[in-house]
């Protein structure tokens, strides 16, 4: 390299060891911000139940936003923040591996070519995770900016992709930690501390670069514009009507008759075949006689089947539509049992829930048939 000029103001008086500044404050804030937001999204995504979904989404979207800001800084930031500083060519990666495997001491102050590959892979993965997460939100839960464009089929596919991408990211993070530990040992320097202080010990063999002036104001303007643009786009896209949602208002006859002994379940929670079977056997309705006059039976059956699971495109409708016809009750559907399997039996048998048929005890939106994870509140205390 021709540029051998030592950067100005790089030595820090009072240090036993001469250090050079490598990572600017924004790179470091970005890195540790990413650690926190990705950790939040990963912990809530891999281990927590549906009631943590809001935090998962906040963590994931903030990680995505950080990556967008980092891309701007990668074009306009200080020397070692810029992609041009570390964007590796295949030849650079091979050369790096070859020299290092021969015990080479050549050190990159910024990212070395292998580390740079990791940086680009992680940035791309986090953006893909944020996008597939937004797609899952829109397709599966039918909310957010993409809800009008995606249905549950696409949503479930995107959720699969989201899960696979998350596993790949987890593997890359493990590799990254291993790489940092190995490289710290190999080059006898604490790389983690450098990501905190921004400085690395200066060594004679270091490749010196001319300083590159960071275009902070332009970067800030671009990031603000991008943020504003995304906010406007989100509001506009989210404001569109979402097709396939349960919207029908329950007639008084249904509310009165079905609601006499239990909550009046939304018709989209069961397929039409189940409603037919249930309304045919009211004289033995889950252990009790719930007989009704023929006219009322006909009217209620017609309304229930007109708005049954097949007629909407929501996650509960899709899930509860699957399964054998003889699993008549909502609570007997395989998906219901799977989704509630982790909950303790006593939650259902004790007050204030009292029975698994009491959806509204925990699902604040049970009446709408949406069963959004954002509307779940488990009762804090139960009594026998």
């Amino acid at each position: 390299m021709a540029r051998n000029k030592t950067e100005n103001n790089e030595t820090q008086p009072g240090d036993a060891e001469t250090t050079v500044k490598v990572w600017d404050i924004w790179v470091r804030l970005f890195h540790w911000g990413l650690v926190m937001t990705v950790a939040t999204a990963a912990l809530t995504g891999f281990f927590a139940n549906a009631t943590w979904l809001q935090l998962h989404i906040i963590g994931g979207l903030m990680a995505g936003a950080l990556v967008l800001a980092r891309i701007v800084w990668g074009l306009l930031g200080s020397r070692h923040a810029r992609f041009a500083d570390f964007a590796p060519s295949p030849r650079a990666v091979i050369d790096h591996l070859r020299t290092q495997s021969r015990g080479g001491t050549h050190r990159h102050l910024g990212h070395n070519p292998l580390g740079a590959l990791m940086v680009f892979a992680v940035l791309a993965l986090i953006l893909s995770l944020a996008l597939s997460g937004l797609g899952t939100l829109g397709g599966v839960l039918r909310v957010g900016p993409l809800a009008p464009d995606l249905g549950t089929d696409t949503g479930f596919a995107l959720r699969e992709a989201h899960e696979i991408l998350a596993l790949i990211l987890a593997a890359l993070i493990a590799l990254h930690l291993g790489g940092v530990a190995f490289e710290s040992w190999r080059s006898r320097e604490n790389l983690t501390r450098s990501m905190v202080t921004g400085r690395k010990p200066s060594r004679s063999g270091d490749v010196r670069h001319a300083p590159v002036r960071a275009r902070g104001l332009i970067a800030l303007t671009l990031i603000a514009l991008a943020g504003g643009g995304l906010a406007v786009a989100n509001a506009t896209l989210s404001g569109r009507p979402v097709p396939g949602l349960p919207t029908a208002t329950m007639p008084e006859l249904v509310t009165e008759e079905c609601g006499a002994c239990h909550m009046a379940y939304h018709p989209a929670l069961l397929p039409a075949a189940n409603w037919h079977a249930i309304m045919r056997t009211l004289d033995d309705h889950f252990g009790e006689d719930a007989s009704l006059g023929t006219d009322d039976v006909a009217e209620i059956t017609a309304w229930l089947t007109t708005h049954a699971a097949e007629t909407v495109d929501t996650k509960p409708a899709r899930l509860f539509a699957r399964g054998p016809e003889d699993a008549l009750a909502i609570t007997a559907r395989p998906a219901w049992q799977r989704l509630h399997a982790d909950l303790p039996e006593t939650l259902f048998t004790t007050q204030p829930v009292g029975s698994a048929s009491n959806c509204a005890a925990c699902h604040q939106d049970a009446e709408t048939g949406r069963m959004s994870p954002f509307a779940i509140t488990l009762p804090k205390e139960t009594q026998p």
């Binding site: 002994c261 239990h262 252990g287 006689d289 007989s291 009292g354 009491n358 005890a361």
Partner: protein, 138 residues
């Protein structure tokens, strides 16, 4: 057949049709009226003790989950009960809940359902009279 006052006749017919077409009005009866009607149908007088025994007793002819009226209405019909689904049932005794036994259709609907659930058969008119007599006395 011609009528001297056809407009009045038409109005009366319209009024009669309106009454027939209207749904059964809420609050069309009272516990006392129902009691008299069931006693008349049975041709016998109600008995409080028989009503209490029927209500609080354990029965075997009906559905296994509901062996007694008290399964849901509890031993004290003046208190709130609870359906097997966890839903609250308002008190059954008219003394605690004046809305009870004031709608013929509702009374018949629930006697029909619950007698079948608990006893596995319809209640007789005398049993209904006994039950209303006991519940009204609370």
């Amino acid at each position: 057949m011609t009528s001297p006052i056809p407009s009045l006749k038409a109005a009366m017919a319209a009024a009669a049709l309106t009454v027939l077409a209207a749904p059964v009005l809420a609050q069309d009866t009272s516990p006392d009226q129902l009691l008299s009607a069931y006693e008349a149908e049975a041709g016998a007088s109600a008995d409080l003790a028989r009503g209490q025994a029927l209500f609080t007793g354990q029965h075997t002819g009906g559905k296994p989950d509901t062996p007694s009226c008290t399964t849901c209405h509890t031993m004290d019909p003046r208190a709130k009960g609870q359906a097997r689904t966890g839903k609250v049932i308002e008190p059954l005794a008219p003394g605690a809940n004046p809305e009870r036994f004031t709608e013929t259709a509702k009374v018949e609907k629930w006697f029909g359902r619950n007698c079948n659930s608990v006893l596995g058969r319809d209640c007789t008119a005398l049993e209904k009279a006994d039950l209303i007599a006991w519940l009204s006395s609370l």
